[in-house]
Amino acid sequence: MADLVFWIVVGVTIVSAAMVVQSKQLLYSAIALLFTFVGVTGLYIFLWADFIAGVQVVVYVGGILVLIIFGIMLTNKITSVNISHTSVQRGIGATVVLGILAGIGFMIINTPWYQVAATEPEQTTETIGRLLMMDYLLPFEVASLLLLGALIGATTLSRKED
């Protein structure tokens, strides 16, 4: 059962991701992206990463995706939702990408990955929090500066100059 669900999640993720990059309608791509994000969230759950799964839903689905859809809407007349967009260099692009996929696949199979069995933790949030406050305090603080900068930059860019 769990296996079935897993493969369904995987299927949803990959198929929708393929739609993201394939669809001729930009908006369809955005919607497919939603399913991808959700699928990835599912994978996180399978990986016992509850906190990350939550963040994924909130930030990606709730934030980034909305942002993207806004972007699509804002850059197009709101009335026409039917926005087609084109692709370039599909053939060669696909070749290159398949090459990379083959390489990575080969790597995945052949590499003796470092694996340690572990039991499922109660929840990950606390550990993550501790890590953030201890080992990764500096990145945590720095990230805030980054966000501040991004904020300033984004407002500067979007502000109408007079």
Partner: protein, 684 residues
């Protein structure tokens, strides 16, 4: 009595007085009274006096083996040393007198002949330079200074031939003379290098002793000898480098007398005489053949020439050939003897022709005739009455050259012919050498009398011109008289008086020394041979001379035989001779033009191909590469190829195209491809 140090001083004076005169005249000559000619004349006369006093000294201290050498260190690098200096022996002294005498005569002759010339002082300056260089050759005791003065003689010849450089022919002749001489000089220089490499010295004595010790022998020695001889071929205008000498007649006639008859061209002979001991038998044979052939060959050209100076020029070549021939057969004393006598009579002949030309020139000038060639014998005739001194002196000189007894030429020529005869007797396979000699003798007699007859006898060809002909002034006739009188045998045979034998002070004081090369006959052996051949040679030479003179009389004086008909009969040969065997034309066609063409081709290759395409090609390839890289970098792979159709169908009119990124994808694709490449490279 003059001793060592004084001889050195004399030699220094003889050498440097003319060059001082040169310096004075070249810099301030124009501002001096009489344009400075007195400086040069004075200097050369002092030189003459000094040389004569050395000659007197030679007579007083009768010593056939007199030798005096001084030298100083010119270059000293430790191992590599060059010492320059003088080597004075009897040959040197005689040669110094010849140079000084002819040069003085030329200076005096030119006082009148060159009067009013626009570059009068420069002319005298150059004469000084020449005398200096010639004396340098005469005095040299080593190959390097020989070579140095050798070249300097070439330069003064260049300057003097080109004296009237406004005339293209003169300018051409000057350049030609220098370049042709240089061809010979290359050989000379290679010879010097061969000698030096083997022996390590340039000094003549060292060379002789080195060769006798066998430090250089066999083919190498022959090669070195031939190389050195090539220098003589150039300077003495031997076949095939004879072409410059006739052209050199573009120079003022006194110059022709001095350089292109008496001294400079004799330098080649002098060189071979000086270095005779080091020539190997093979080299000598080559020398003999070149000389013999030249003697005959030039004579055949002289026969048909109409320009009075050209006849004399070819005659000079022929006579030089004689001398070379004599050296080749080992009879180098005879060669030097002939050099001496030839200097006198040929200078006289040239001065004579100068006198004639001078007279013609004046006459034509008065008539305002620019077109008539004052040197063409066909415009002359019957001048005997108008130019008596010239006529008589030239006739004496002609008799001398023709080898008529009682004149010096008879003695010297006889000695040479005897030598060839003796040589042929010893080596019958070289029978051609005496044939060359006797043939040339016959023809010489013929054409020289032809010259006299055409110029001074017969009917007047141009009466108008004839009217204006006057005997030359004393400054010009004096040298003529002096030199022609030196054509009598007596001056060379003293203290003996036998018109049929060259035995005299000359042969006693100037004695052949043995060759240092093994295999060459000793001087004694050669002398013996000549001695035996003496009478047959004399008889034969008298025969051929009288034959030549007789033919000439018949043809040009008595007009019993028509020259034109004979010319027509000879047809092809006549044409060949008249056109000097087309040497200039063929050289031009097969040598100069190809070299010029080659040089142009090389310059073209260098500049328009190599530089333009190869060197600039680097730049071009870089630019092309840059363009190519730029294309790839800008455009990526051509999008039309990759995804052309879809783009053109849908790409335009889209609202979003402002946000479309175009080539960005290409960049990313390239980056990705790069990643793959790197991974592959790393993995393999």
């Amino acid at each position: 009595m003059i001793t060592g140090n004084i001889i050195t001083d004399f030699c220094l004076l003889i050498l440097f007085l003319p060059v001082v005169a040169f310096a004075i005249n070249i810099f301030i000559g124009k501002r001096l009274p009489r344009q400075g000619d007195w400086v040069s004349v004075g200097a050369i006369l002092i030189t003459l006096v000094l040389s004569l006093s050395m000659l007197m000294n030679m007579f007083m201290n009768w010593d056939p083996n007199f030798s005096h050498e001084v030298q100083f260190s010119w270059i000293d690098l430790g191992a590599f040393k060059i010492e320059l200096g003088f080597w004075v022996d009897n040959i040197t002294i005689v040669m110094l007198v010849v140079v000084a005498l002819i040069s003085s005569m030329t200076h005096i002759f030119s006082l009148e002949y060159m009067k009013g010339d626009i570059r009068y002082s420069r002319y005298y300056a150059y004469l000084g330079l020449f005398t200096f260089s010639m004396n340098g050759i005469v005095l040299a005791n080593n190959l390097i200074s020989m070579y140095i003065f050798w070249e300097l003689v070439g330069v003064s010849s260049y300057l003097l031939i080109g004296h009237w450089f406004e005339k293209n022919s003169a300018a051409n002749a000057a350049t030609k003379a220098f370049l042709t001489n240089r061809v010979g000089d290359i050989g000379f220089f290679i010879g010097i290098m061969l000698m030096f490499t083997a022996i390590g010295s340039f000094n003549f004595q060292d060379l002789f002793s080195g060769i006798s010790q066998g430090m250089i022998s066999g083919q190498l020695l022959t090669l070195a000898g031939v190389g050195i001889f090539l220098g003589a071929v150039g300077k003495s205008a031997q076949f095939p480098l004879h072409i410059w000498l006739p052209d050199a007649m573009e120079g003022p006639t006194p110059v022709s007398a001095l350089m292109h008859a008496a001294t400079m061209v004799a330098a080649g002979v002098y060189l071979t005489v000086r270095l005779f001991p080091l020539f190997s038998p093979e080299a000598l044979l080559i020398i003999a053949y070149v000389g013999g052939f030249t003697a005959l060959f030039a004579a055949t050209i002289a026969v048909t020439q109409n320009d009075i100076k050209k006849v004399l020029a070819y005659s000079t070549v022929s006579q030089l050939g004689y001398m070379i021939l004599a050296v080749g057969v080992g009879n180098y004393v005879a060669a030097f003897f002939h050099l001496l006598t030839h200097a006198m009579f040929k200078a006289c002949l040239f001065f004579g022709s100068g006198s004639v030309i001078h007279a013609m020139h004046h006459s034509l000038h008065e008539l305002n005739d620019q077109d008539t060639d004052p040197q063409d014998m066909r415009n002359m005739g019957g001048f005997k009455s108008k130019l008596p001194i010239t006529y008589w002196t030239m006739t004496i000189a002609t008799l001398t050259i023709a080898g008529v007894p009682f004149f010096s030429g008879f003695l010297s020529k006889d000695a040479i012919l005897a030598g060839t005869l003796a040589f042929a007797k010893h080596y019958p396979q070289h029978f051609l050498l005496p044939l060359f000699g006797f043939g040339a003798a016959a023809i010489t007699a013929f054409y020289m009398f032809r010259l006299i007859f055409m110029t001074f006898h017969g009917e007047v060809k141009m009466p108008k011109v004839f009217k204006g002909i006057h005997e030359s002034p004393r400054a010009m006739t004096f040298p003529l008289i002096l030199l022609s009188s030196l054509g009598f045998f007596i001056f060379y045979t003293l203290p003996y008086f036998n018109p049929f034998s060259d035995h005299g002070w000359f042969t006693e004081l100037i004695q052949a020394s043995d060759s240092v090369v093994k295999g060459n006959p000793t001087a004694e052996e050669i002398y013996e041979g000549i001695h035996h051949a003496h009478y047959p040679a004399m008889a034969l030479s008298l025969l051929v001379a009288s034959f030549g003179i007789g033919m000439s009389i018949l043809m040009y004086m008595k007009k019993k035989l028509s020259a034109d008909i004979w010319a027509a009969k000879m047809g092809f040969l006549y044409k060949l001779s008249l056109n000097k065997y087309f040497f200039d034309e063929n050289y031009n066609r097969f040598l100069y033009q190809p070299v010029l063409k080659l040089s142009q081709a090389i310059a073209f290759v260098d500049w328009d191909l190599y530089d333009k395409y190869f060197i600039n090609g680097f730049g071009r390839v870089t630019k092309w590469l840059s363009f190519l890289t730029g294309r790839i970098d800008y455009e990526g792979l051509d999008q039309k190829l990759v995804d052309g159709v879809g783009r053109t169908a849908q790409g335009f009119g889209n609202q979003l195209k402002n946000v479309q990124t175009g080539r960005l994808q290409n960049y990313m694709l390239f980056a990705l491809a790069g990643v793959i490449v790197i991974i592959v490279m790393q993995t393999i």
